[in-house]
């Protein structure tokens, strides 16, 4: 057999070159840089000296970081529950609506909000939480003026208000995942259950839930990771306040970097956050994986 010419051997790497050149700089060098920064005293990109584990020690004794993690646990806990419960509920309800125009209308309806930029939706919620109008005007109208709050600016209500942004949490991708999941169950299974006289609720609990489990697992992992690494909604609504009542690690990391200019400490927080994300991802895979 003829040996491939050198040029032909090199071709595959030429195909990969553009992608890998960019990854070399913006992925591998960047992550290395983050790691190095976390052991250095870096201010606004100017490298100071090697400080060992000082940045990490500081993180563990930082009271704000502790509060951030607790807030994050609350936000992520609710985010995961809401990302599974409500879209699954809607997908189940839709399942029992006979295929037809109404069915398609409902499905399309839940997809539409995906086409609006997320920051726009967040800001609209911010208006709903406004002390002078929004939800408060409803409360005033129905005579519950005592219940009105400055929702995002009071320590007691800020965190829960952020958690509730997006209620009823149905629109978009997670709904579609469950919808697809339920529709890939063979029609025979559902038909057989109906002929056996199983009521809708039994079909849901005995047949759907066990079969939809892989999709629940997917949504669990996806929503957990996205809530741990994202900080857009807190950033745009409360900025972590009032005080530190809604501060979360990702936002704290951002503020330490671009507010205080302390890139070193910020990178240490980032590495810790990444470690948490990796551990949580592995744990959640284990948690569900054992029964697969």
């Amino acid at each position: 057999m003829k040996k491939k010419s050198l040029y032909r051997q090199v071709i595959p790497y030429l195909f990969l070159l553009p992608a890998f050149v960019m990854m070399a700089v913006f992925s591998y060098y960047a992550i290395g840089k983050a790691l190095v920064n976390s052991f250095m005293n870096v201010r606004f990109g100017v490298i100071g000296e090697f400080v060992g584990l000082e940045n990490y020690q500081r993180a563990f004794s930082d009271p704000v970081f502790k509060v951030s993690f607790i807030n994050q646990a609350v936000i992520s806990g609710f985010a995961v529950f809401n990302s599974i419960f409500w879209p699954l509920l809607a997908a189940e309800l839709l399942f029992f609506v006979k295929k037809g125009r109404f069915h398609d209308f409902l499905r399309f309806g839940f997809v539409v909000p995906m086409m609006v930029p997320s920051i726009v939706i967040i800001l609209l919620w911010k208006y709903l939480y406004n002390p002078h109008f929004g939800f408060n005007s409803i409360l005033n109208r129905i005579g519950l003026s005592d219940w009105t709050r400055n929702w995002l600016n009071e320590e007691q209500t800020a965190l829960i208000s952020i958690v509730l942004i997006g209620f009823p949490f149905v629109s978009g991708m997670y709904f579609l995942i469950f919808h697809t999941g339920l529709n890939t169950l063979s029609a025979d299974i559902n038909e057989a259950a109906r002929i056996d006289g199983a009521a809708s609720l039994q079909i849901v609990t005995k047949i759907h839930l066990p079969n939809v489990k892989p999709y629940i697992k997917t949504v669990f992992t996806l929503s957990l990771i996205s809530s741990l690494s994202g900080f857009g909604n807190v950033f745009a609504t409360t900025g972590g306040g009032p005080g530190y009542s809604t501060m979360i690690p990702a936002l704290q990391m951002y503020q330490i970097a671009f507010g205080d200019g302390n890139f070193g400490y910020s990178s240490a927080l980032g590495i810790l956050l990444m470690a948490v994300i990796v551990i949580v991802t592995i744990l959640s895979r284990k948690l569900f994986g054992e029964e697969d």
């Binding site: 990969l16 960019m22 809607a90 920051i119 609209l124 970097a257």
Partner: protein
């Protein structure tokens, strides 16, 4: 056979309709606000306008035009880069044999694990060193690099599924690797490239955190979602009607691009979800 709708069926229909209505509350608020003058929004937030106040749209158009254009320029240039990188690398991983393929592929997969947040600081340092701050390129280059990862992974598995005999036939006809790529693989990969493209465009158009980091000088270069975010932070107009009209104007490009490719977008997210 006509199936009778049970009482339970009616309850579930009503319930899902309520969920749908609640989902649309923010969108209703947006349209309602956009058609009312600012004073009326503050005094009667939920009430419908007696007469649509179109002046909001006229005024909003003039100040949201440039940010939307900026977003579109950034998305368009990034998209070209992403499609080039993804089709080439996806083809190599999917169709070609070479040494170190598994290792290189795993290197791509590993990048998927890194949270976006951790990359902000080092990427900012790199972009600063490249003297790109406050240019479109400070968005475009990191976007290409970040968005190509997911694209390469799904494109590789798509290319792998293409029928092998097509390539063998082309080889007999004397086509070299580039010929096979341009004449056979590329035309066949249209659906997957649309999927990759729309997923990336949606993510880039929606992003406001990275623009906030690197575009800090003047408003004339800022993207639409960045301007919206700045407004949330208390900068810019206080006229809520105007803001809501600007929201709608800035949503149009996303609706247009997604409406024509929704099928591909959903497919992309599904594959991404399963892989993730």
């Amino acid at each position: 056979m006509k199936t009778r709708i049970s009482a339970g069926g009616i309850v579930s229909r009503i319930f899902i309709l309520i969920l749908l209505i609640l989902t649309f509350v923010p969108l209703f608020v947006m349209f309602n606000m956009s058609l009312k003058p600012n004073v009326l929004i503050k005094t009667d937030f939920w009430g419908l306008p007696t007469e649509p106040y179109w002046a909001n749209f006229v005024k909003a158009f003039s100040f949201s035009f440039k940010p939307v254009l900026n977003s579109l320029i950034v998305c368009a240039i990034s998209l070209v880069g992403i499609i080039i990188n993804v089709s080439l690398a996806g083809y190599a991983f999917g169709c070609l044999k070479f040494k170190g393929k598994t290792i290189l592929y795993n290197l791509v997969l590993a990048v998927m694990m890194i949270p976006y947040t951790l990359m902000i600081v080092p990427t900012y340092e790199i972009v600063t060193k490249m003297n790109l701050l406050n240019t479109y390129w400070s968005l475009i280059i990191p976007y290409i690099s970040g968005q190509q990862i997911f694209g390469i992974i799904i494109a590789a598995s798509y290319f792998q599924g293409l029928p092998k005999d097509l390539f063998e036939a082309a080889e007999i006809d004397g086509a070299n690797e580039w010929g096979k790529f341009f004449i056979i693989a590329l035309p066949l990969s249209k659906p997957i490239l649309i999927t990759v493209g729309i997923t990336a465009v949606v993510a880039m158009y929606n992003d406001f955190i990275w623009p906030t980091v690197v575009l800090t000088s003047g408003d004339e270069i800022k993207t639409f979602c960045q301007i919206v975010f700045n407004n949330a932070a208390g900068k810019g107009s206080n006229d809520l009607g105007l803001i809501a009209a600007a929201f709608i104007i800035g949503t149009i490009p996303l609706v247009v691009s997604m409406a024509s490719t929704l099928k591909y977008y959903i497919q992309g997210m599904m594959v991404g979800a399963v892989k993730g």
